[in-house]
Symmetry: C2
Subunit: 217 residues, 2 copies
DNA sequence: TGACAGCCCTAACGATCGTTAGGCAACCCC
DNA sequence: GGGGTTGCCTAACGATCGTTAGGGCTGTCA
Protein backbone atom coordinates (compact mmCIF):
# COMPACT_ATOMS: atom_id res chain seq x y z
CA UNK A 1 0.00 0.00 0.00
CA UNK A 2 1.73 3.20 1.27
CA UNK A 3 -0.07 5.72 -0.88
CA UNK A 4 1.86 8.78 0.29
CA UNK A 5 5.41 8.97 -1.05
CA UNK A 6 6.32 11.87 1.24
CA UNK A 7 6.62 9.60 4.25
CA UNK A 8 10.16 10.60 5.13
CA UNK A 9 9.16 12.79 8.06
CA UNK A 10 8.33 15.93 6.07
CA UNK A 11 5.53 17.95 7.69
CA UNK A 12 3.74 18.66 4.37
CA UNK A 13 1.00 21.33 4.44
CA UNK A 14 -0.29 22.03 7.92
CA UNK A 15 -3.57 20.53 9.11
CA UNK A 16 -4.41 19.01 5.75
CA UNK A 17 -3.33 15.57 6.87
CA UNK A 18 -6.50 15.15 8.86
CA UNK A 19 -8.79 15.93 5.95
CA UNK A 20 -6.72 13.66 3.75
CA UNK A 21 -7.42 10.88 6.21
CA UNK A 22 -11.12 11.67 6.22
CA UNK A 23 -11.26 11.55 2.44
CA UNK A 24 -9.37 8.28 2.44
CA UNK A 25 -11.70 6.82 5.04
CA UNK A 26 -14.72 7.93 2.99
CA UNK A 27 -13.45 6.04 0.00
CA UNK A 28 -12.63 2.88 1.93
CA UNK A 29 -15.84 2.92 3.95
CA UNK A 30 -17.74 3.29 0.72
CA UNK A 31 -15.98 0.36 -0.91
CA UNK A 32 -16.03 -2.12 1.94
CA UNK A 33 -18.39 -0.72 4.55
CA UNK A 34 -17.59 0.74 7.94
CA UNK A 35 -17.22 -2.60 9.66
CA UNK A 36 -15.41 -3.98 6.64
CA UNK A 37 -12.44 -1.63 7.02
CA UNK A 38 -10.11 -2.02 9.96
CA UNK A 39 -7.93 0.66 11.46
CA UNK A 40 -4.90 -1.26 10.23
CA UNK A 41 -6.16 -1.29 6.63
CA UNK A 42 -6.87 2.43 6.83
CA UNK A 43 -3.44 3.13 8.26
CA UNK A 44 -1.78 0.97 5.62
CA UNK A 45 -3.45 2.93 2.83
CA UNK A 46 -2.35 6.16 4.48
CA UNK A 47 1.22 4.94 4.91
CA UNK A 48 1.17 4.92 8.68
CA UNK A 49 0.56 2.67 11.67
CA UNK A 50 -2.88 1.95 13.08
CA UNK A 51 -2.03 3.48 16.43
CA UNK A 52 -1.05 6.74 14.75
CA UNK A 53 -4.61 7.30 13.61
CA UNK A 54 -5.50 7.92 17.23
CA UNK A 55 -3.40 11.03 17.11
CA UNK A 56 -5.99 12.53 14.72
CA UNK A 57 -9.21 10.89 15.90
CA UNK A 58 -10.37 9.72 19.28
CA UNK A 59 -12.01 6.61 17.89
CA UNK A 60 -13.03 4.89 14.70
CA UNK A 61 -16.57 6.12 15.14
CA UNK A 62 -15.41 9.73 15.33
CA UNK A 63 -13.72 9.19 12.00
CA UNK A 64 -16.99 7.91 10.59
CA UNK A 65 -18.83 10.92 11.94
CA UNK A 66 -16.42 13.23 10.15
CA UNK A 67 -17.10 11.54 6.82
CA UNK A 68 -20.86 11.78 7.29
CA UNK A 69 -21.07 15.24 8.73
CA UNK A 70 -19.89 17.13 5.66
CA UNK A 71 -22.82 15.82 3.66
CA UNK A 72 -25.54 16.60 6.14
CA UNK A 73 -24.17 19.98 7.10
CA UNK A 74 -23.94 21.12 3.49
CA UNK A 75 -27.43 19.85 2.83
CA UNK A 76 -28.83 22.18 5.44
CA UNK A 77 -26.52 25.19 5.16
CA UNK A 78 -25.99 25.23 1.37
CA UNK A 79 -28.87 23.57 -0.43
CA UNK A 80 -31.80 24.33 1.85
CA UNK A 81 -31.44 28.16 1.75
CA UNK A 82 -31.96 28.02 -2.02
CA UNK A 83 -35.66 27.59 -1.30
CA UNK A 84 -35.65 31.03 0.30
CA UNK A 85 -33.98 32.67 -2.67
CA UNK A 86 -35.55 34.64 -5.52
CA UNK A 87 -37.70 33.18 -8.28
CA UNK A 88 -40.89 31.20 -8.59
CA UNK A 89 -41.52 28.12 -6.48
CA UNK A 90 -40.65 25.97 -9.46
CA UNK A 91 -37.40 27.80 -10.12
CA UNK A 92 -36.32 27.61 -6.50
CA UNK A 93 -37.12 23.92 -6.26
CA UNK A 94 -35.25 23.25 -9.50
CA UNK A 95 -32.24 25.10 -8.09
CA UNK A 96 -32.28 22.93 -4.99
CA UNK A 97 -32.53 19.74 -7.00
CA UNK A 98 -29.62 20.78 -9.20
CA UNK A 99 -27.47 21.79 -6.24
CA UNK A 100 -28.30 18.58 -4.40
CA UNK A 101 -27.35 16.30 -7.28
CA UNK A 102 -24.26 18.32 -8.11
CA UNK A 103 -23.16 18.01 -4.51
CA UNK A 104 -23.57 14.25 -4.75
CA UNK A 105 -21.34 14.24 -7.81
CA UNK A 106 -18.64 16.17 -5.99
CA UNK A 107 -18.79 14.06 -2.81
CA UNK A 108 -19.68 10.59 -3.95
CA UNK A 109 -17.75 8.66 -1.32
CA UNK A 110 -19.11 10.66 1.58
CA UNK A 111 -22.66 10.48 0.25
CA UNK A 112 -22.65 6.74 -0.04
CA UNK A 113 -21.22 6.36 3.43
CA UNK A 114 -23.74 8.84 4.81
CA UNK A 115 -26.51 6.80 3.23
CA UNK A 116 -25.46 3.39 4.43
CA UNK A 117 -23.46 3.57 7.59
CA UNK A 118 -25.62 5.68 9.88
CA UNK A 119 -26.44 2.67 12.03
CA UNK A 120 -22.82 2.44 13.17
CA UNK A 121 -23.11 5.79 14.95
CA UNK A 122 -23.86 6.04 18.64
CA UNK A 123 -27.49 6.95 19.47
CA UNK A 124 -26.86 10.61 20.22
CA UNK A 125 -24.71 11.17 17.14
CA UNK A 126 -27.26 9.34 15.04
CA UNK A 127 -29.98 11.60 16.36
CA UNK A 128 -27.98 14.72 15.47
CA UNK A 129 -27.56 13.58 11.88
CA UNK A 130 -31.15 12.48 11.50
CA UNK A 131 -32.49 15.78 12.76
CA UNK A 132 -30.65 17.48 9.87
CA UNK A 133 -32.39 15.17 7.45
CA UNK A 134 -35.80 15.69 8.98
CA UNK A 135 -35.35 19.46 8.67
CA UNK A 136 -34.42 19.08 5.03
CA UNK A 137 -37.34 16.82 4.23
CA UNK A 138 -39.86 19.02 6.04
CA UNK A 139 -38.57 22.16 4.39
CA UNK A 140 -39.09 20.61 0.97
CA UNK A 141 -42.58 19.42 1.86
CA UNK A 142 -43.41 22.92 3.11
CA UNK A 143 -42.10 24.47 -0.09
CA UNK A 144 -44.35 22.22 -2.13
CA UNK A 145 -47.34 23.00 0.04
CA UNK A 146 -46.66 26.72 -0.41
CA UNK A 147 -46.38 26.23 -4.14
CA UNK A 148 -49.76 24.53 -4.13
CA UNK A 149 -51.32 27.36 -2.15
CA UNK A 150 -49.83 29.85 -4.57
CA UNK A 151 -51.54 27.96 -7.39
CA UNK A 152 -48.22 27.13 -8.97
CA UNK A 153 -48.07 23.42 -8.14
CA UNK A 154 -50.69 20.72 -8.41
CA UNK A 155 -50.09 18.00 -5.87
CA UNK A 156 -52.51 15.95 -3.75
CA UNK A 157 -50.04 15.13 -0.95
CA UNK A 158 -47.06 17.50 -0.46
CA UNK A 159 -45.54 15.39 2.26
CA UNK A 160 -45.40 12.27 0.12
CA UNK A 161 -44.22 14.34 -2.84
CA UNK A 162 -41.36 15.60 -0.70
CA UNK A 163 -40.35 12.05 0.07
CA UNK A 164 -40.65 11.10 -3.57
CA UNK A 165 -38.42 13.99 -4.60
CA UNK A 166 -35.81 12.96 -2.07
CA UNK A 167 -36.02 9.36 -3.28
CA UNK A 168 -35.46 10.61 -6.78
CA UNK A 169 -32.60 13.02 -6.20
CA UNK A 170 -30.76 10.64 -3.90
CA UNK A 171 -30.88 7.99 -6.58
CA UNK A 172 -27.81 9.10 -8.56
CA UNK A 173 -25.90 8.59 -5.33
CA UNK A 174 -26.18 4.86 -5.99
CA UNK A 175 -25.36 4.64 -9.65
CA UNK A 176 -23.62 7.79 -10.90
CA UNK A 177 -20.39 7.02 -12.69
CA UNK A 178 -18.13 9.93 -13.73
CA UNK A 179 -17.08 7.91 -16.78
CA UNK A 180 -20.70 7.29 -17.81
CA UNK A 181 -22.83 8.68 -20.59
CA UNK A 182 -24.01 11.78 -18.76
CA UNK A 183 -22.16 14.29 -16.61
CA UNK A 184 -23.53 15.03 -13.17
CA UNK A 185 -24.66 18.44 -14.38
CA UNK A 186 -26.67 16.93 -17.21
CA UNK A 187 -28.29 14.52 -14.80
CA UNK A 188 -29.00 17.36 -12.39
CA UNK A 189 -30.68 19.40 -15.13
CA UNK A 190 -32.84 16.54 -16.32
CA UNK A 191 -33.88 15.45 -12.86
CA UNK A 192 -34.79 19.04 -12.03
CA UNK A 193 -36.94 19.08 -15.13
CA UNK A 194 -38.65 15.88 -14.07
CA UNK A 195 -39.42 17.19 -10.61
CA UNK A 196 -40.91 20.41 -11.90
CA UNK A 197 -42.79 18.66 -14.66
CA UNK A 198 -44.26 16.31 -12.09
CA UNK A 199 -45.56 19.11 -9.92
CA UNK A 200 -46.86 21.36 -12.67
CA UNK A 201 -48.69 18.71 -14.69
CA UNK A 202 -52.38 18.34 -13.82
CA UNK A 203 -52.91 15.79 -11.02
CA UNK A 204 -54.36 12.40 -11.85
CA UNK A 205 -57.07 10.65 -9.88
CA UNK A 206 -56.07 8.89 -6.69
CA UNK A 207 -58.24 6.15 -5.13
CA UNK A 208 -59.63 6.67 -1.63
CA UNK A 209 -59.36 9.61 0.76
CA UNK A 210 -56.14 9.25 2.73
CA UNK A 211 -55.31 12.45 4.48
CA UNK A 212 -54.77 11.59 8.14
CA UNK A 213 -52.65 13.96 10.18
CA UNK A 214 -50.03 12.16 12.28
CA UNK A 215 -46.30 12.59 12.04
CA UNK A 216 -44.03 11.33 9.30
CA UNK A 217 -44.14 8.67 6.57
CA UNK B 1 -31.29 -14.49 23.84
CA UNK B 2 -32.47 -18.02 22.90
CA UNK B 3 -35.52 -17.06 20.89
CA UNK B 4 -36.81 -20.58 20.26
CA UNK B 5 -38.33 -22.24 23.33
CA UNK B 6 -38.61 -25.64 21.60
CA UNK B 7 -34.91 -26.28 21.95
CA UNK B 8 -35.24 -29.69 23.56
CA UNK B 9 -34.29 -31.66 20.46
CA UNK B 10 -37.70 -31.69 18.73
CA UNK B 11 -37.37 -31.76 14.93
CA UNK B 12 -40.11 -29.14 14.38
CA UNK B 13 -41.39 -28.75 10.82
CA UNK B 14 -39.00 -30.13 8.24
CA UNK B 15 -36.78 -27.79 6.21
CA UNK B 16 -38.35 -24.62 7.59
CA UNK B 17 -35.49 -24.09 10.01
CA UNK B 18 -33.24 -22.95 7.22
CA UNK B 19 -35.64 -20.30 5.98
CA UNK B 20 -36.18 -19.17 9.56
CA UNK B 21 -32.45 -18.63 9.81
CA UNK B 22 -32.41 -16.71 6.54
CA UNK B 23 -35.20 -14.43 7.74
CA UNK B 24 -33.39 -13.89 11.01
CA UNK B 25 -30.16 -13.10 9.22
CA UNK B 26 -31.98 -10.63 6.97
CA UNK B 27 -33.25 -8.77 9.97
CA UNK B 28 -29.93 -8.66 11.75
CA UNK B 29 -27.92 -7.78 8.65
CA UNK B 30 -30.36 -4.97 8.04
CA UNK B 31 -29.99 -3.61 11.56
CA UNK B 32 -26.24 -3.86 11.99
CA UNK B 33 -24.81 -4.58 8.56
CA UNK B 34 -23.25 -7.76 7.25
CA UNK B 35 -19.88 -7.18 8.86
CA UNK B 36 -21.58 -5.91 11.98
CA UNK B 37 -23.21 -9.24 12.78
CA UNK B 38 -21.06 -12.17 13.82
CA UNK B 39 -21.93 -15.82 13.48
CA UNK B 40 -22.09 -16.04 17.26
CA UNK B 41 -24.62 -13.22 17.50
CA UNK B 42 -26.72 -14.84 14.78
CA UNK B 43 -26.57 -18.20 16.50
CA UNK B 44 -27.45 -16.64 19.85
CA UNK B 45 -30.57 -15.05 18.41
CA UNK B 46 -31.51 -18.38 16.85
CA UNK B 47 -30.94 -20.24 20.10
CA UNK B 48 -28.05 -22.33 18.87
CA UNK B 49 -24.28 -22.43 18.70
CA UNK B 50 -22.25 -20.65 16.05
CA UNK B 51 -20.78 -23.88 14.74
CA UNK B 52 -24.27 -25.29 14.18
CA UNK B 53 -24.97 -22.68 11.53
CA UNK B 54 -22.48 -24.45 9.33
CA UNK B 55 -24.83 -27.41 9.20
CA UNK B 56 -27.20 -25.19 7.17
CA UNK B 57 -24.81 -22.92 5.29
CA UNK B 58 -21.33 -23.46 3.98
CA UNK B 59 -20.19 -20.00 4.95
CA UNK B 60 -21.41 -16.65 6.17
CA UNK B 61 -21.32 -15.28 2.66
CA UNK B 62 -23.62 -18.06 1.44
CA UNK B 63 -26.07 -16.97 4.10
CA UNK B 64 -25.88 -13.42 2.81
CA UNK B 65 -26.46 -14.61 -0.73
CA UNK B 66 -29.63 -16.38 0.37
CA UNK B 67 -30.99 -13.18 1.90
CA UNK B 68 -30.26 -11.18 -1.24
CA UNK B 69 -31.31 -13.71 -3.83
CA UNK B 70 -35.01 -13.75 -2.99
CA UNK B 71 -35.29 -10.07 -3.81
CA UNK B 72 -33.51 -10.15 -7.14
CA UNK B 73 -35.11 -13.38 -8.31
CA UNK B 74 -38.61 -12.09 -7.60
CA UNK B 75 -37.81 -8.83 -9.33
CA UNK B 76 -37.09 -10.66 -12.57
CA UNK B 77 -39.54 -13.57 -12.40
CA UNK B 78 -42.51 -11.81 -10.81
CA UNK B 79 -42.40 -8.07 -11.47
CA UNK B 80 -40.75 -7.92 -14.88
CA UNK B 81 -43.29 -10.13 -16.71
CA UNK B 82 -45.99 -7.62 -15.82
CA UNK B 83 -44.64 -5.45 -18.63
CA UNK B 84 -45.60 -8.21 -21.09
CA UNK B 85 -49.16 -8.47 -19.78
CA UNK B 86 -52.34 -6.91 -21.16
CA UNK B 87 -53.19 -3.23 -21.08
CA UNK B 88 -51.70 0.02 -22.31
CA UNK B 89 -48.05 0.89 -21.74
CA UNK B 90 -49.09 3.15 -18.90
CA UNK B 91 -51.24 0.49 -17.25
CA UNK B 92 -48.50 -2.12 -17.47
CA UNK B 93 -45.88 0.20 -16.08
CA UNK B 94 -48.20 1.21 -13.25
CA UNK B 95 -48.75 -2.47 -12.45
CA UNK B 96 -45.00 -3.03 -12.25
CA UNK B 97 -44.47 -0.04 -10.01
CA UNK B 98 -47.23 -1.19 -7.66
CA UNK B 99 -45.92 -4.76 -7.55
CA UNK B 100 -42.37 -3.55 -6.96
CA UNK B 101 -43.26 -1.31 -4.04
CA UNK B 102 -45.63 -3.88 -2.55
CA UNK B 103 -42.84 -6.44 -2.69
CA UNK B 104 -40.59 -4.04 -0.82
CA UNK B 105 -43.25 -3.73 1.86
CA UNK B 106 -43.47 -7.49 2.25
CA UNK B 107 -39.71 -8.06 2.32
CA UNK B 108 -38.24 -5.01 3.97
CA UNK B 109 -35.30 -6.69 5.66
CA UNK B 110 -34.16 -8.51 2.57
CA UNK B 111 -34.55 -5.42 0.40
CA UNK B 112 -32.40 -3.25 2.60
CA UNK B 113 -29.72 -5.91 2.78
CA UNK B 114 -29.88 -6.40 -0.98
CA UNK B 115 -29.40 -2.66 -1.41
CA UNK B 116 -26.47 -2.18 0.91
CA UNK B 117 -24.47 -5.35 1.31
CA UNK B 118 -23.73 -6.36 -2.25
CA UNK B 119 -20.09 -5.45 -1.87
CA UNK B 120 -19.60 -8.26 0.63
CA UNK B 121 -20.31 -10.87 -2.04
CA UNK B 122 -17.54 -12.59 -3.95
CA UNK B 123 -16.99 -11.26 -7.48
CA UNK B 124 -18.81 -14.04 -9.31
CA UNK B 125 -21.82 -13.96 -7.00
CA UNK B 126 -21.90 -10.18 -7.23
CA UNK B 127 -21.93 -10.42 -11.01
CA UNK B 128 -24.86 -12.85 -10.93
CA UNK B 129 -26.93 -10.50 -8.81
CA UNK B 130 -26.00 -7.42 -10.81
CA UNK B 131 -26.95 -9.03 -14.10
CA UNK B 132 -30.45 -9.49 -12.71
CA UNK B 133 -30.61 -5.80 -11.96
CA UNK B 134 -29.28 -4.78 -15.35
CA UNK B 135 -31.95 -6.90 -17.01
CA UNK B 136 -34.61 -5.25 -14.91
CA UNK B 137 -33.38 -1.75 -15.64
CA UNK B 138 -33.05 -2.35 -19.36
CA UNK B 139 -36.46 -3.92 -19.60
CA UNK B 140 -38.01 -0.84 -18.03
CA UNK B 141 -36.08 1.50 -20.33
CA UNK B 142 -37.22 -0.56 -23.33
CA UNK B 143 -40.82 -0.40 -22.16
CA UNK B 144 -40.63 3.37 -21.95
CA UNK B 145 -39.04 3.62 -25.38
CA UNK B 146 -41.83 1.45 -26.81
CA UNK B 147 -44.40 3.62 -25.12
CA UNK B 148 -42.83 6.68 -26.74
CA UNK B 149 -42.87 5.03 -30.16
CA UNK B 150 -46.50 4.12 -29.65
CA UNK B 151 -47.19 7.78 -28.99
CA UNK B 152 -48.36 7.03 -25.48
CA UNK B 153 -45.41 8.45 -23.54
CA UNK B 154 -43.51 11.70 -23.93
CA UNK B 155 -39.94 11.34 -22.77
CA UNK B 156 -36.67 12.77 -24.13
CA UNK B 157 -34.40 10.08 -22.69
CA UNK B 158 -35.97 6.68 -21.91
CA UNK B 159 -32.77 5.29 -20.44
CA UNK B 160 -32.46 8.07 -17.88
CA UNK B 161 -36.19 7.89 -17.22
CA UNK B 162 -35.78 4.19 -16.43
CA UNK B 163 -33.08 5.02 -13.92
CA UNK B 164 -35.23 7.76 -12.44
CA UNK B 165 -38.15 5.40 -12.04
CA UNK B 166 -35.95 2.87 -10.28
CA UNK B 167 -34.57 5.61 -8.04
CA UNK B 168 -38.11 6.57 -7.17
CA UNK B 169 -39.61 3.15 -6.54
CA UNK B 170 -36.61 1.94 -4.54
CA UNK B 171 -36.97 4.94 -2.28
CA UNK B 172 -39.62 3.53 0.08
CA UNK B 173 -37.12 0.78 0.78
CA UNK B 174 -35.23 3.31 2.88
CA UNK B 175 -37.99 4.97 4.83
CA UNK B 176 -41.18 2.88 4.76
CA UNK B 177 -42.55 2.28 8.24
CA UNK B 178 -45.49 -0.14 8.65
CA UNK B 179 -46.68 2.01 11.56
CA UNK B 180 -46.55 5.19 9.49
CA UNK B 181 -49.23 7.38 7.98
CA UNK B 182 -49.64 5.45 4.74
CA UNK B 183 -49.87 1.73 4.06
CA UNK B 184 -47.50 0.27 1.50
CA UNK B 185 -50.43 -0.18 -0.91
CA UNK B 186 -51.31 3.49 -0.69
CA UNK B 187 -47.71 4.46 -1.33
CA UNK B 188 -47.58 2.04 -4.25
CA UNK B 189 -50.71 3.55 -5.79
CA UNK B 190 -49.50 7.10 -5.46
CA UNK B 191 -46.03 6.41 -6.74
CA UNK B 192 -47.52 4.58 -9.70
CA UNK B 193 -49.61 7.68 -10.39
CA UNK B 194 -46.51 9.86 -10.21
CA UNK B 195 -44.60 7.71 -12.65
CA UNK B 196 -47.40 7.65 -15.18
CA UNK B 197 -48.13 11.33 -14.75
CA UNK B 198 -44.47 12.06 -15.35
CA UNK B 199 -44.41 10.17 -18.62
CA UNK B 200 -47.72 11.34 -19.99
CA UNK B 201 -47.30 15.06 -19.23
CA UNK B 202 -45.87 17.11 -22.10
CA UNK B 203 -42.06 17.22 -21.98
CA UNK B 204 -40.34 20.41 -20.92
CA UNK B 205 -37.34 21.91 -22.64
CA UNK B 206 -33.92 20.46 -21.94
CA UNK B 207 -30.72 22.42 -22.61
CA UNK B 208 -28.22 21.03 -25.10
CA UNK B 209 -28.30 17.92 -27.28
CA UNK B 210 -27.07 14.98 -25.23
CA UNK B 211 -27.94 11.74 -26.92
CA UNK B 212 -24.68 9.83 -27.23
CA UNK B 213 -24.98 6.08 -27.58
CA UNK B 214 -22.56 4.22 -25.29
CA UNK B 215 -23.50 1.75 -22.59
CA UNK B 216 -25.10 2.54 -19.27
CA UNK B 217 -25.55 5.60 -17.05
C1' DT C 1 19.37 27.01 23.54
C1' DG C 2 15.52 24.96 25.52
C1' DA C 3 10.55 24.17 25.92
C1' DC C 4 6.85 22.41 23.37
C1' DA C 5 3.67 20.80 20.24
C1' DG C 6 2.81 17.91 16.08
C1' DC C 7 3.25 13.53 14.13
C1' DC C 8 4.57 9.08 13.97
C1' DC C 9 6.58 4.74 15.93
C1' DT C 10 6.82 -0.25 18.44
C1' DA C 11 4.55 -3.42 21.35
C1' DA C 12 1.01 -5.23 23.38
C1' DC C 13 -3.91 -5.87 25.76
C1' DG C 14 -8.21 -8.59 25.69
C1' DA C 15 -11.92 -9.52 22.78
C1' DT C 16 -14.02 -11.25 18.83
C1' DC C 17 -13.77 -12.96 14.14
C1' DG C 18 -15.03 -17.08 10.60
C1' DT C 19 -14.28 -21.67 10.49
C1' DT C 20 -13.15 -26.73 11.40
C1' DA C 21 -12.99 -31.32 13.81
C1' DG C 22 -15.33 -34.64 15.98
C1' DG C 23 -19.17 -36.49 18.63
C1' DC C 24 -23.97 -37.35 20.46
C1' DA C 25 -29.10 -37.85 20.39
C1' DA C 26 -33.34 -38.20 17.93
C1' DC C 27 -35.76 -39.34 13.95
C1' DC C 28 -36.76 -42.08 9.13
C1' DC C 29 -36.97 -46.15 6.35
C1' DC C 30 -36.13 -51.11 5.48
C1' DG D 1 -33.33 -53.31 15.09
C1' DG D 2 -29.65 -51.62 12.27
C1' DG D 3 -28.10 -47.81 8.97
C1' DG D 4 -28.45 -43.31 7.57
C1' DT D 5 -29.72 -38.66 7.91
C1' DT D 6 -30.72 -34.48 10.35
C1' DG D 7 -29.61 -31.09 13.71
C1' DC D 8 -27.32 -29.73 17.24
C1' DC D 9 -23.28 -29.79 20.61
C1' DT D 10 -18.24 -28.71 22.82
C1' DA D 11 -13.69 -27.24 21.96
C1' DA D 12 -10.44 -25.17 19.66
C1' DC D 13 -7.52 -22.99 15.56
C1' DG D 14 -5.23 -18.80 13.81
C1' DA D 15 -6.32 -14.29 12.46
C1' DT D 16 -7.93 -9.83 13.14
C1' DC D 17 -10.43 -6.43 15.82
C1' DG D 18 -10.32 -1.45 18.32
C1' DT D 19 -7.59 0.55 21.51
C1' DT D 20 -3.85 1.99 24.88
C1' DA D 21 0.84 2.95 26.84
C1' DG D 22 4.87 4.99 26.19
C1' DG D 23 8.72 6.66 23.53
C1' DG D 24 11.26 9.32 19.74
C1' DC D 25 12.04 12.47 16.01
C1' DT D 26 11.25 17.03 13.75
C1' DG D 27 9.89 21.28 13.35
C1' DT D 28 8.57 26.21 15.52
C1' DC D 29 9.02 29.86 18.67
C1' DA D 30 10.53 32.28 22.90
Amino acid sequence: MNADPSQGGRPARAGSRKSELIALASRMFREHGYHGVGMRALADAAGMQAASLYHHFRSKEELLLHTIYVVDRDMVVEQMPLLDGPGSHAERLAALVRAHITHIGANRDAWLVAGRELRALSPERLEAVQSYRRDYQRRIARHIAEGVEAGEFDCPDPRLAGLAILDLINGPNEWFDPAGRLTIEEIADRYADMVVRQLTAPARTVPGGLTTRDEDT
